[in-house]
């Protein structure tokens, strides 16, 4: 039977960029374990010669011309309207790199 440990839950939360309280960690450990164990029933299905499905209407690649349709683009002001953190017409984000200290 599949079971998730507390460490599994904390690892997954880190991958998913989700912060959990201690109570949530306990709750999700129990709940996700019960859901994952339920899915063990899929081990009874014979799937060795079956292709996986990702798309149901049989489409593969859909192409369009590499041209800009100005009716389909937002103006710079519109694109920035969802945030207050802007700088000179750009989104302002936290730095992800820091200056090297050994230089």
């Amino acid at each position: 039977m599949s079971k998730l440990t507390k460490q599994d839950v904390l690892h997954v939360a880190k991958l998913a960029k989700i912060t959990l309280t201690d109570a949530e960690v306990d709750k999700f450990t129990t709940q996700l374990s019960s859901i994952i164990s339920y899915m063990d029933e899929l081990n009874t299905v014979e799937i060795s010669n079956i292709e996986p499905t990702t798309q149901t209407t049989g489409l593969s690649n859909v192409f369009r011309k590499d041209e800009i349709n100005t009716d389909q683009v937002l103006s710079q002001d519109e694109a920035l309207s969802g945030t207050e953190k802007t700088h000179n017409g750009y989104f302002k984000v936290d730095a992800i790199l820091t200056e090297r200290s050994d230089k």
Partner: protein, 461 residues
Amino acid sequence: MINNQIPLTIKETKEGLLKKKFSAVELVDQYLAQISKNKDLNAFITICEDEAYKKAKLIDSNLQDLSLLGVTVAHKDLYLTKGVRTTAASKVLESYIPQYSATVVDRMEKSGAITIGKANCDAWAHGASGENSDYGPTKNPWNKEYVPGGSSSGSAVSVAAGLSLVATGTDTGGSIRNPANFCGVVGLKPTYGAVSRYGVIAMASSLDSMGSLAHTVDDVETIFNVVKGPDGYDSTVVNPKHETRNTKKLKIGIPKEYFVDGMDKEVEKSVLETAKIFEKEGIELVNISLPNTKHAVSVYYIIQPAEVSSNLNRFDGIRLGNSRESFGAEAKRRIMLGTYVLSAGYYDAFYLKAQKVRSLIIKDFDSAFEKVDAILSPVMPTPAFKLGENVNDPLKMYLADIFTAPANLAGIPGLAIPSGFTKKGLPLGFQLLGSRFSEPVLFSLGKLYEKVTGFVPQIAK
């Protein structure tokens, strides 16, 4: 004047306006009054009073014969509405104002529809009861102690309680058919790829289907004809090629796997009575088998959270919205579940296996539709349940998707239709499933059912 009698079909609404029996402004007056009288249902997150009156005045000043003339619509709050706050019922988007409208919203407005408000729903469309909204649960208008179903909870309640004539919804694993069933209204989940998803906040991209709720089959058909077809934005949308089976006599399949132990007796009886009604009209009933139905919940709760975790990854609080701290419990649960099944070491055991079993579920339907024109089944295993009854047991709640999720996994259309009430006065209903792009077949069967049963639309009291 309307005499406090709100028209309950698109046809009555349109004819009343064109013949000047009432004005669009009077209609909006009536619906807004009805909304304010029913605040306790918590059907709306945002009410579009100013926008609705503006549109109504425009309609009154230039009456045109449009398909949805004066039709008030509640858009599920996953549909982007230009200039009108769109939250997905999540605190992450509590102050998000879209810069553009969804294709469905746009096409409906161009056909004369009046957007009356943004309907409450389970946050990010995650739920089967309407209780997962960060803006509080919606209540069933037939009995306020019961859930309205979900995730398109506010949409179904809005139609059932007469707060709008029609509503939009999204159906990823049953989110239109389930609340339609619990609230006694008609709900259409179109074929995957029939209606553009552009401008609708994505839940699970291989399953999401944009549909509508109304009082009659005729009305969801009218809306479907307005919103369907390619829009140049959603590349999965195609013009349908549906070949009807080459037979004189229509056949409806009754899948034995959809009548299982533990399902509610009143639900079962009502669906079997519906089958008899079709049989009496000369339609042949055929016993069929969809053997992989029993795996649908496992497959669905692997593929769907996997896609959810990917789609919700973009909400980082940088370009719009609040930070990921604002996700509610159910969103966190699905993001975690999805991330787990996609993570290194588990991908083959869960995600890939689920995609393969998905192929088997599709094969079941494809073979069935070689023999029958439509499949008749229950929508939910029980009628509406009480608020709070299942909130602490997510697995139990997930299992209730057993009859709805297969249609999404296979990408086929489903039409939920009301068929009466339980002894306790809660709505009962059934669904018709068809092969890909067979919506016209489902509409004609649905209309036949309404005609022979003498169905008359009504507002929940």
